[in-house]
């Protein structure tokens, strides 16, 4: 059964149809890329899936259950978490503190005015583990706001991973990154997919990454689902070439 499925989903903003009649299935364990020109509706798709706003029409299922109209804070508890096109982290806190709040939230400790030493060690171990996985140890005590853009993106992913999601939505994880940072992010995405088996949807403009790591690709254009298939199928698709791959960007 698919972990995520969309059935004839439409989202309108006034007279604009940002997404029209989209159906898609994302099986457990898949690494799915979502591509499309600017304004195609990619972020809108993420906003719908993550509960930021409900679809105007259609049905959304996560793990076989309808999640239409379920707010983001509830979806997170079912195992879905996202990052944003514009990085959303705690800029005036250190990297360590960013992960601390994420881990404490993941462990459901937010109401605690006090932690036992054992709990505190547990939280700490989880933070250390995240910092190791994402190679953030050297940046632990730096203010998140002072970091390079690419490192901030990594911090955002670390925050998301603290919740140990089953479905991770990444909105343009490599946007604005240099080559080296992009390679690092690509490795990270591959690692999370292969080693941890996290089902992922990621929006990406960089073709080399997509063809490198994605199992399947969904192509959106102007709010419509233009094509879906393996990287080989997509690169051979004439519609896609016309609408997107052939375009100047």
């Amino acid at each position: 059964m698919s972990l995520l499925s969309l059935k004839n989903v439409t989202r309108r903003f006034g007279s604009l149809s940002a997404l029209s009649n989209i159906s898609m299935e994302v099986p457990q364990g898949e690494l799915r890329a979502v591509i499309g020109p600017n304004g195609a509706g990619k972020t809108t798709l993420f906003n719908l899936i993550s509960g930021f706003f409900p679809p105007s029409e259609g049905e959304l299922l996560f793990d076989g259950q309808s999640v239409k109209g379920v707010p983001p804070e509830k979806l997170v508890h079912r195992g879905m978490i996202r990052t944003f096109q514009i990085t959303e982290i705690f800029l005036d806190l250190s990297v360590y503190e960013n992960l601390e709040i994420a881990v404490e939230t993941a462990h459901g400790l937010n109401l605690r005015p006090w932690l036992s030493p054992a709990r505190r060690r547990q939280v700490r171990a989880h933070i250390d583990e995240l910092m190791q996985t994402l190679h953030l140890e050297d940046l632990a005590y730096r203010m998140a706001g002072e970091l390079a853009h690419g490192d901030q993106r990594v911090v955002e992913i670390a925050i998301a991973l603290a919740r140990e999601p089953r479905l991770l939505l990444l909105d343009e994880p490599t946007a604005g990154m240099g080559d080296e940072e992009t390679d690092r992010m690509t490795d990270l995405i591959r690692h999370l997919h292969q080693e941890r088996g996290i089902t992922m949807l990621f929006i990406e403009h960089d073709m080399s990454i997509i063809f490198n790591v994605a199992d399947r690709i969904t192509v959106l254009d102007n709010g419509h689902l233009l094509a879906e298939g393996t990287p080989a199928e997509i690169s051979a698709n004439a519609d896609v070439q016309a609408a997107y791959l052939g375009a100047a960007r």
Partner: protein, 336 residues
């Protein structure tokens, strides 16, 4: 990796999250100096032209703003209505002493419960609004209590205020604490101030406090981590309401009097000014702000009725030159 480095490099803005779980010498030293000064205040205040009651007033304003700052500085919720809970504490205590009991502790308890529960019950109405709407609804709710106090003449004494009650001595077993003595009342107030400090300090270094700061920093991120942030703003609101009520209760006992002005939004605004003056994102900022506020008020109100304009001028200057308050400024310097 060790705890000390983490605490040392904690942001100035996230400031007092640095806590004391590891030894942070400058902070510890500052805290020791502050407590030494507070404990010895009745002895040195006369030497610098002050008097004990002035010190008690500072403590009461510092207590209410310490609590308010949990909401304002650490959670990022601008309330212009906390005088209402301060005033409810004051009226609750005054009315108890006047009509019900001769016990000061019981009168305090009732004042704290009345003001604190009012904040807790009204919090949910407030926390659903954002930014300026949050501020406006806090004013509206606060003013509602102000008008009740003005209109309900038979009970509250209306605009003339509530008189006819006085604090009584406290008895523990066979021992009596004479609260009529201003110095004793100073230490009585200091005891409650210490409790307030301990509560706020504990909260700030706990996951609850981390959550408050994270709400201030990025509520959207927190929502998408699965947190219903309204509940937590409500908790900050309620805690600050209880602390405000305690301070108001002590204020009624200090003056043996309370009036609608003790719940007016002008006073709420003064509380906000005190926090901003001293440094909203620092633990001791409210105390520093209260010293400035109370001292300026004391000296200038004997010279001019427009003393508030001076506070206003100091406020504007401080916002221009020390946007993070006096303490925020000095801490920033110190770290460089």
């Amino acid at each position: 990796m060790n705890a000390t480095t983490i605490q040392d490099k904690t942001s100035t803005l996230g400031g007092s999250r640095a806590g004391m779980s590891s030894v942070d010498l400058p902070r510890l030293a500052a805290a020791l100096v502050i407590w030494a000064l507070l404990l010895s205040a009745p002895f040195w205040l006369p030497l610098v032209g002050g008097y004990t009651v002035l010190g008690t007033r500072v403590l009461i304003f510092a207590l209410v703003t310490l609590g308010l700052n949990l909401l304002l500085g650490f959670t990022g919720g601008l309330s212009f209505g906390h005088a209402a809970y301060f005033g409810l504490g004051a009226y609750g205590t005054g009315l108890m002493l006047k009509f019900v009991t001769a016990s000061t502790p019981l009168a305090i308890l009732v004042g704290v419960l009345v003001g604190g529960l009012a904040a807790t019950l009204l919090g949910p109405i407030t926390v659903r609004r954002k930014g300026i709407y949050f501020a406006m609804i806090t004013i509206a709710i606060g003013q509602m209590f102000y008008f009740i106090a003005v209109r309900w003449n038979s009970l509250t004494g209306g605009e003339d205020g509530l008189t006819g009650f006085a604090r009584t001595n406290v008895h523990f077993g066979g021992w009596t604490l004479d609260l009529h003595n201003p110095t004793n009342f100073y230490y009585f107030t200091l005891f409650f101030f210490a409790i307030g400090c301990f509560v706020v300090w504990m909260v700030l270094r706990s996951p609850l406090g981390h959550t408050f700061v994270a709400i201030r920093e990025n509520p959207k991120r927190l929502r998408f981590l699965g947190l219903p942030i309204g509940v937590y703003i409500w908790i900050a609101f309620a805690i600050s309401g209880f602390v405000a009520a305690l301070a108001g209760s002590l204020y009624a006992l200090l003056n043996n009097f309370t009036s609608p002005e003790d719940m007016n939004w002008i006073l709420s605004g003064d509380f906000v000014i005190i926090c901003v003056l001293g440094g909203m994102r620092t633990f001791w900022g409210p105390l520093v702000g209260s010293v400035i506020y109370v001292v300026v008020q004391d000296y200038l109100s004997s010279i001019t009725v427009n003393w508030m304009s001076f506070i206003g001028a100091i406020f504007v200057l401080s916002v221009l030159f020390f946007p993070w308050g006096l303490l925020g400024f000095f801490q920033g310097r110190f770290k460089k």
